[in-house]
Symmetry: D2
Subunit: 305 residues, 4 copies
């Protein structure tokens, strides 16, 4: 079961599709193995980058079943839904299948601090004993969650064990949360998103790792580990070598197509296909990715990585 001590890299998994739009189950298995081999300490499925909204309820459960059966590391399942009934249905199914916890982003209708806190009270009640991750991603959800609201939720809901941190800018929020737990608040796990674009500084501010889907998860594993070992200069060397690609992947809306293209290039998934609506990359974009990959390879060789 997921708890407050979770750390390392929880890779946000894509959902591989065949060219006809069906789920590509062989690629699912290969992807799980790949992420773990690259250092993932956990996996998150059915997140936004997993095209969760494009699956039917049946497909969602089937994916959780396949991934939990294959994985040797804990699985977090995105269960955000317009209503609590659907959220609870998927969460219950996922936990029954062996998931370690679930993740919930706030709906865009929430406007005030009190509404946000009340929403997570209802969430915790709906989910029962399932540990959950609070996803804080204002760029996409349009809901800004102040630190004080997060702390209130943590105080009120014992099953809230992790923050998926991707406020932007969000470094001060990490510092504020850590100052609060140093002062006595319950300390939850903070894993950071935003494609890893600020991972270096996030670790130095007190994050426990990353939860994001950069197509080279080994970067995240190495940066997290090197930071934790105290060798910040080495961590910066590694981070900087991947940064041009991290940045390129950080294009909103386009990031998933870039990520799937790279995973297909690396042989992890068979096809870079997205379900509609969701286009692939232009030839120009593919060329840009390949050029970045080549330079990245050169930079890694200099680092003996």
């Amino acid at each position: 079961m997921l708890d407050e001590t979770a750390n390392g890299v929880f890779t946000i998994a894509v959902t591989p599709f065949l060219p006809d739009g069906a789920i590509d189950w062989d690629s699912v298995d290969r992807m799980v193995d790949f992420y773990i081999a690259q250092g993932a300490t956990g996996l998150t499925v059915l997140g936004m980058m997993g095209e969760a909204g494009k699956l039917t309820a049946e497909e969602s459960v089937a994916l959780v079943k396949r991934v939990t059966a294959r994985s040797s590391v804990p699985i977090v399942v995105g269960v955000s839904a317009p209503g609590f009934a659907a959220m609870k249905a998927l969460s219950d199914a996922a936990m029954d299948l062996g998931a370690a916890g679930v993740m919930v982003a706030p709906p865009g209708s929430l406007k005030t601090d009190a509404q946000i806190v009340a929403y997570y009270h209802n969430t915790a009640e709906a989910l029962g004993s399932a540990p959950f991750v609070l996803q804080d991603f204002p760029l996409v959800t349009n809901v800004t969650i102040p630190t004080s609201a997060i702390l209130q939720i943590v105080a009120d809901c014992p099953t809230c064990v992790m923050l998926k941190h991707e406020d932007w800018p969000g470094l001060e929020k990490i510092s504020a949360l850590r100052a609060a737990s140093d002062a006595g608040a319950r300390r939850i796990s903070i894993l950071c998103g935003n494609g890893g674009l600020y991972l270096l500084e996030e670790m130095l501010r007190g994050a426990d790792g990353a939860m994001t889907g950069f197509a080279y998860p080994e970067m995240m594993a190495q940066v997290v580990e090197t930071c934790r070992s105290g060798d910040v200069t080495r961590a910066r060397d590694i981070f900087d070598a991947y940064l041009p690609m991290v940045r390129y992947e950080a294009q909103p809306g386009l990031g998933l197509a870039i990520r799937k293209f790279t995973l297909a290039q690396r042989g992890v998934i068979a096809h870079p296909a997205l379900r509609k609506p969701g286009a692939g990359l232009s030839d120009a974009a593919k060329g840009e990715v390949l050029a970045l990959a080549e330079r990245q390879q050169q930079a890694l060789q200099k680092l003996a990585l």
Copy 2:
């Protein structure tokens, strides 16, 4: 099957719940009978006012099954979903169960005219032969659909047979669409929403009726029929008698609670309960509704209604 000639009043049905949150099936049946008895020429289920987002996929199908089995008038089923797979799954199930058509609102991620048109192309493809209603409700969807985009969709998608019109302001849009069909564009049915707040003017601009959930559907049936008969003064008399309540129900977010309270007062549904998140009415609000209902009753007596 729903087609371009649909007219009259398609009542947006609520989803009745028991106090514990389960669907109240007896009230569902009573509600269907009531709406038809009050003059509904069709019913729409699983719309926004039907708390569609708060049901599980199974509950949604069960509700469609119950309503189609009970109803003697055509049923439209809201199938808006974050992705086409879930949309198609519910649409296919609904049409198999005897629904007359489905309704689709645009997701908030659509930003440009071309994106909107492309979205409905994909929708039409996903839905196959099912006739569909384009729901145009910018206040809630945050997507403004210009008249030119609607006309493009109508031109490109033969299965788009109706506009649920609730742009606000939206009267000029009705006139523009009717001018376009007078000039040769395919004429689709226009049924208007916004709780009926502009029904009188909408009819005079060329609408075919209403598709909204005002808790006194007889008002809408009478106004539509009286307008069509040409007695505009009588239609205004009827409309004005109900207007204070129409206006009160038009409070966003609160409207559904008001509607369910009234339906419970009228004996149509057993409980005014909403699923979370969604609160009931304060005592002050209940008093306001009751005061309005009493004055409404007096006004109707003067009209011999």
Copy 3:
């Protein structure tokens, strides 16, 4: 100077233009006289409905000068601005010219309760001794201000003396604010907006009057006065007679054109012109307004008004 005891009707004044877009100063004078003759206890200029954003800084000051010189009732000046320097410049000029107070709406960039409160702290500091009105209009500003934040601002900023209330729905907010002041919080004036659409219920919840621009300000004066005298049935009769027009004017974006058309019809302003961007009414819309005005006249005759 504006203070917490303000009540009655502060009419939101339009800014009359000549057909070439210049300010129509003669109409400004006539309009001031008209509003006062119809029962206004105050006037608000440079509000959103005053096309404040379309004036230059010089024109804004000139308008304040003209109106304060002409008026026998207190003048509130809208001074909302992207920054505090421009806000302070206009506020200082307005107060020097004899304005009674100023009004400030929050910028759309505010996301959390704490940001809203901090913004009004900065506002109060920038405005110095000028009494100010907090404008709470989420439909347009996209900022939802919870009751707790309003109470915090009232507690912290002695110069905040009035709430322009146009949250929607907003009746519970009035009740909550009045409960708070009954329990010891400073009681500020609450004048309500939204074109008067809920004026009846707002008065019964504890509002002190209206601050909005319905083109028949006599309705608001009469409803406020009749409510305060305790004759609620008479107040409802008056309110209902005007309601079809209130509702028609409530169309967002279009409301100002309707209002200016009516004011021109009534001989108050010489031209219904709006500055760009801002269109006039179609012939169909003009016909709708005239039909409503005729029926309104008949209804008022029955009430001997």
Copy 4:
């Protein structure tokens, strides 16, 4: 006068303030000299990063006067305003003072393609003969401008001579605009924003340079020049050396404080002060900037820069 051939780097200038909030005129002069010495081929003042909204109308004109008097390169003046009267007033004043052109971002109220095009028609009319830059920055303006609308504006408005490109993702838009001009559309200048985060790819897609405010404008000048000379590998080396800092500055809302901190560190402006609302950097953030600057310095030495 600004025209379609503009290229290179138009630095978005900050507005330097003294600790008490007054404009720091000495720093203004020093900043102008610095930007030009670092390779700026133009300057843009009163942009969003220039805290334009926080200045009074008088201060805005005074700043334009100071900068145009000091600068040997063309000056573009941001004149975005809620209305055309204020826009025209500032534009006329700026052009009289010797500005080369003005820049206009769309207001957030624009929803459809036709509204956007109409807005720029009105803009061009209001500005008269002043050449203008269309600012395309959806992340901040909330207005998504499709390529087709840009091309329509370019076709209709001869005074639209430049696109400040900061859509995100926006690379395909550059390619599409260049394909259109290759096919006969008028070719306008495209200078890119987003802090330079995609400058390398933007140049390769056909941009003419950068218009953004990264605190090391020499990077942008060198990358643009090196790209134009055809030495893409060298351009990547330079770009990558600065990328960790570019990325750090790219934090929305915080970017300006980082930029001013760096400019103060570099001795360009005397104080890093922002006007309210707008905070400075925490000690932790200052430490992060300094650490990045030190590594950047090392990386540049390796490149003999």
